[in-house]
Every structure is written in C-alpha cells, then in structure tokens.
Symmetry: C2
Subunit: 191 residues, 2 copies
DNA sequence: GTCTATACGTCGATAGAC
DNA sequence: GTCTATCGACGTATAGAC
C-alpha cells in the first residue's frame, strides 16, 4: 500500500461518508485527489473494489482491536471487559469517524462475496460482546433478558457516536467514552 | 393523497430502504408499481420530491406521536414519561421499519430547504427527550452527566431496532419495546 | 392517465498517446 | 504514471400521441 493509494482511499472515505457510495462518482474522487478519472484506474480496479477494501479493512481493525482489548485484561472480570469493549468501540468510532460511517451505512451497497464476508465479520464482532454478556450473567454481575438483543442495544448505542461526534465538541472523546461506559454498564447491572 | 400516490410512495420507501436513494432509479420505482417511468411523473414532481415527502411525513409522525404520548401521561412522572417515549419510539420503528430506515440513513441525500426542515424536526424531537431527562434529574429520579449526550445515546439505542427487527423474529415488538424501556431506564436511574 | 420516443447529461471503464 | 478522447449503458425528465 503506497502513499498515493492511501490518499485515494482517504478521499473515497470522505466522499462516501458525506454523500454515500452510490452518489459518489469516480470523477468526484479523482477531483478530490487532483487527478483525472482515468488515472485512478492505475491504482484501483473498480469503484466497487474501493468500497470492499474500505469496509473490510476498517471492520477487521475493529474486530481485531476488540479481541486485543479483551486479551489484555485480567480473566473472569466481565464488568471490566464490557467497560473496555465500550470504550474501545466509542474511541475507535470517534477517531475513525468517517470510515465508521461508511462501514455502518454502506453494507447495502455490497454485493455477493463481499457482502457475505462483511456479514461474517459483523457476526464475529457481535459474538465477542455476547460472550462477555453471557459470562457476566452466569457470574451474576449482569442482569438482562436476552444476550443477543442486549448486544445489539449496546453496539447500536456506541455506534451512534460516529453520527454526532465532532473533534471541536465540548467533551473530549475520552470523556464521551467514559460516559458511555458508565451508561452501558448501568444498562446491564442488576439493581 | 389518493391510492396510486400511496402505492408509489410505498414502493419508493421499500426501494430506498433496500438500496438507498441514490442507487434507486425512477425506472426501478416504476417497475415496482407496474408502470412506465413517464407515467410516474403524473403523480410526482421529481425523485427528490419523493424523498422529501417521505422524510418529512414520517419524521413529523414521530414527533407528533411522541408529543401525544407525553400529553396522555400524568404530570410530574419523568420515569413514566421516559419509559413511554422509549416504547413509542421502538414500536414506531418496528411498525414502520422501512420508512424509519429511510429517515435514519438518507438525511445526507437531502439538499437546501428540505435538509434544514428535517434538521429542525430532528432537533425538536431530541429536545422532547432532553426535557424529560432534565425534569427527571431535577426531581432526583435520574442520574447522568450530560442531557444532550444521554438523549443521543437513548435515541440511538432505540433507533437501532429498525436495523435488525423482523416481524418473524422470536420476540414480539411489544416485548422488545418493554426490554428496551427497561434497559433505557436502568441507564439513567441512580443506583 | 398511460404510453412510446427521445433529449441530454453523467456514469464506470477502457484505449492508446506521451 | 498521467493524460485526452471516447465508448456504451443508464440516469432524470419531457413532448406529445392516444
């Protein structure tokens, strides 16, 4: 992956997140990187390929990062695990806000194998959360009815951050992540 | 609004929610309603108009429904208010899932006045939630740091339902709404 | 009200000069 | 590696017959 390729990918992420994949033309992207559209094809195979690459790369980073987060933690502390899972997700969605928006909104633009691949990555990610929730429930530190619904609820909650977070906002990303961790933990704690 | 117009709107909602506004052509919509694309223009002014109408109508329904929900409740019970706000939002997003998806994902496809109008409607809706939250905090039945962030978190949580809910699923929409109300209330209750 | 025909712009992608 | 030129398909929208 050389420098020019990365510039093209960044331009695509910016435009896809602003206008959507379908509404962004290859000519739009080429203008953004000060090239003619024909030149882009020296670096990419197709517009579809560009989306596939972005979705796959960012979602893989999210899944691997979450796995690593859990691995770095002491065993058998589901509350700590959930707290850090939330913080990692929120911070990741704030730092890579534009890519996160693309991943969250362009699943429907994928076709065939790519779509299936992304679907699997998502499922793996949800499973990570569900396992933490189930461990906490067995241990008695969490209380909820359905692990799947609760995982959707928690992930949806954290994903929402990418839709409103701004670097210039009053609260730092770290503070927001802390608040979300508090909110999320309260959601599943017995009372 | 006659029958044919409603059929066209329903077809547009279906296709916009599946493929997105930009990826849906007037010809796609006309095929869905067994017409030629030129005939559609007897009922609509433009493709853009169709989106404006869908976004405005559904979001207005949501805001008005939420206001009505609050009006029907006893005064000075913020917990009851939040519970019913959550249930109304979740049930509305389940019942009109496709329209909800369009509203949630196609804001970026709006331009000019329409965009501003929808932005205002959204703001009004968020304000409803924030007022309930503030009242609860003053009364001491809610505990959270920032009303704006908490309202975003709660609304984002409930909106997520439209992304995974299915009529054929194991849980009824009513049950899901109840679970979400429980989760949401736990999020903001002092412990 | 619904159609056929079509205007005219933009799309993704390619050929081939430099 | 970047360009100009261009292809054929498809986009929204309109004109005008019936």
């Amino acid at each position: 992956m050389n420098e020019v390729e990365q510039t093209i990918i960044d331009a695509a992420i910016k435009l896809f997140s602003e206008k959507g994949y379908a509404a962004t033309s290859i000519r739009d992207i080429s203008k953004e990187v000060n090239m003619k559209s024909a030149s882009l094809y020296h670096y990419i195979e197709s517009k579809k390929d560009l989306l596939d690459l972005i979705m796959k790369r960012y979602l893989t980073e999210l899944v691997e990062g979450a796995k690593q987060t859990l691995n770095d933690l002491p065993v058998d502390e589901p509350e700590t695990e959930l707290k850090n899972l939330i913080k990692f997700h929120v911070e990741s969605h704030g730092k890579e806000k534009l890519a996160a928006l693309v991943v969250d909104t362009e699943y429907r633009s994928l076709e065939g194998e790519s779509r299936e691949e992304i679907r699997q990555l998502r499922k793996n990610y949800e499973k990570l959360w569900q396992e933490v929730l189930e461990r906490g429930k067995r241990k008695g530190v969490f209380d909820f009815k359905d692990a799947k619904i609760t995982s959707f609820a928690l992930i949806g909650l954290c994903t929402g951050v990418a839709h409103w977070y701004r670097d210039e906002g009053a609260l730092s990303l770290h503070e927001i992540a802390e608040q979300y961790a508090t909110l999320g933990l309260k959601m599943v704690r017995p009372h």
